[in-house]
Symmetry: C2
Subunit: 373 residues, 2 copies
């Protein structure tokens, strides 16, 4: 039995945008897709039933956070991430590589793997390619990621190349370490903003025949146009018949630009984090709900949005934030994730109809126009 | 049209427990009932759809908090509390009297009413019986409360009597000020722990023919048995054919003791507040979910509870609290409100079957036994 199947259903005739389906043991993911981030086994503030209602088809969990608390063995005992969290649809776990770069303290990397201190209490841990896979097998997501070496940008060519080459060697070790047949393993392309290195890394990983390919190490401070150019440069070297995942990206416009360049999967904390900070994404651009202009505004955030927040008024949501009610962050998180899901659903439909570029232009025009009075 | 109707359907043959229905413009409330507290237009952390799933039939809003933020006029403009919050079932607002006693600063009371400073920013406000009714008419709940004068216990007889007599005079002014026909007005019996005063107050209010009667000024520091004795003393003087509401009470055992003594309605922040602090109410007594004993516990909080929290493990909920995830407080709030609703539903059924005292004994026995290993 092959529980994984990626089917490329249609390619947009005017761009590199792709419409596909990723079949997993926990169900089908329609691509392009956006994965909300459930770092520690919960998309912050969103009960699983409400998360399903946002239209989310696949959720991301973080290996780094979960290995620290509650620990992978406890999650495994409790039925893996699906049993633990109650989320019944597909899940993906990252490998921990990015958090060792962005969050852990005193991370030291050598060929064997990484040693680091927990950002919570400073206790010491080691993580290797084999260890990351073992943890991800215990967590039991449908898609697991190879353990990669992430470095800051900008950085010297030598440092970027060293990390990229190590990422390839580690990817092979991950592939060899993997035991579970019911999980798909994706390789991660590194190489900073150097197109030659990205190409080399993509070709090396393609030889290892992963079930999907991620572009990692972007959205770490470079300009958006640099990121887009980099995606465009690496895309031709990623196998056409496998899903492509742009890690940690991004804003709504970044999703559309990524899809245009052939990306199928995204994840980002932005809809949830910005929602907690009273910012709502809309087709008219961001709406800051603490603003006094919404004090008596009886309209929903968006007329056509089916989410629970949009069954209330802007004035009510503003009231929740000005009084510090938890329900404000909850409702805007739900709205923003719903917004992202509506955005990728719109993109999927537009690709099917060969009008993806028009769809992008409509969305960009709305975002530029801003929220009307 | 008379939009309000209280029907006493059955009286327990071995206690004063009563089974009734309160019909309101927004639907029927089965009594005995428990009202979760939505102080500022939100039961903290609980989306309205999930609140409906708890089995709650009527929710309380606080006049004091809502008059300060966002202000009664804004709530009225946005469709009253029902339109504002999205809660479609019955609602009740208190009068502000209790918060002037418990929360506001520098409250000064004279015969006309009260002046006080907001606990938020110290700005000055006045509240009179007429003003409280006007605000509650703007808020638009199904049941509104007379403006009462609450004093601390213990207190001198003169102070308690003065406040009780003022409460009666203010109740009459509230009745005379009330204009909306689609709202029921309840009088509030004061009188501290003095049975004579309670009886006098109840009889005076009964003459004014309210649509319901509350027992106020209890659960302010006295012993539970003092409260129970006081309820028992005043109950015979409350009209049999009207609902009785014990304000701000209480623990699960207080609900059962109140029901036994003829109370029909309760409200309390305890299920939500304790839930936010990692305490779950169960038939085996309170469960403190931060406790390490639950670290690997795969069982739900309670086997037979239908709430979303009980579709997870104790270990998962503990993990949410130890990592500071918002979903922990959310899930335990939902569980605890569901627990209270299951408790009053059980009481209603037991009353119908004339086995209310047995029901109480079963519950008390479970609570005494504690959570098994």
């Amino acid at each position: 039995m092959a529980p994984f199947l990626f089917e490329l259903r249609h390619k947009d005739s005017n761009s590199s945008a792709r419409r596909g389906t990723l079949t997993t043991p926990h169900g089908v993911v329609e691509t392009p897709t956006f994965m909300p981030v459930g770092t520690r086994g919960s998309v912050k503030g969103v009960e699983v039933g409400l998360l399903e209602e946002t239209g989310s088809q696949i959720v991301l969990g973080n290996t780094y956070h979960l290995m620290l608390r509650p620990g992978a063995e406890i999650v495994r005992e409790l039925g893996g991430l699906h049993g633990f969290t109650g989320w019944k649809r597909p899940m993906l776990t990252d490998s921990g590589g990015f958090q060792l770069f962005s969050l852990a303290k005193l991370t030291k990397i050598n060929e064997e793997g990484a040693v680091f201190q927990s950002h919570i209490d400073g206790s010491r841990f080691a993580l290797t390619p084999e260890g990351s896979i073992a943890i991800q097998e215990a967590l039991g997501a449908d898609v697991v990621m190879a353990f990669d070496h992430v470095v800051a940008l900008p950085n010297s060519r030598a440092v970027v190349e060293d990390a990229m080459r190590r990422t390839v060697r580690w990817a092979k070790r991950c592939r060899d370490a993997k035991r579970r047949e019911d999980q798909a393993l994706f390789g991660i392309v590194q190489g900073g903003l150097d197109y030659g290195m990205r190409r080399y890394c993509a070709e090396e990983l393609a030889e290892l025949d992963f079930q999907g390919y991620a572009i990692g190490g972007l959205s770490v401070g470079e300009e958006p146009c640099e990121m887009y150019d980099c995606i465009e440069a690496v895309e031709p070297y990623l196998p056409q018949d496998k899903p492509r995942y742009l890690m940690g990206v991004g804003r709504p416009e970044d999703l559309l630009e990524g899809i245009k360049r052939g990306v199928d999967m995204f994840d980002c904390v932005m809809p949830s984090r910005n929602g907690r900070n009273a910012m709502a994404f809309t087709d008219c651009g961001p709406m800051r709900l603490r603003n006094a202009r919404y004090e008596r505004d009886p309209r929903p955030l968006e007329e056509n949005c089916p989410c629970p927040a949009c069954r209330r008024s802007r004035a009510y949501i503003r009231h929740l934030f000005t009084t510090g009610e938890m329900l404000g962050p909850i409702l805007l998180t739900i709205h923003n994730i719903t917004y992202y899901q509506r955005l990728v659903a719109g993109a999927r439909k537009a690709i099917e109809e060969d009008r993806y570029l028009e769809f992008c232009e409509e969305r960009f025009e709305g975002w530029r126009a801003g929220v009307p009075e």
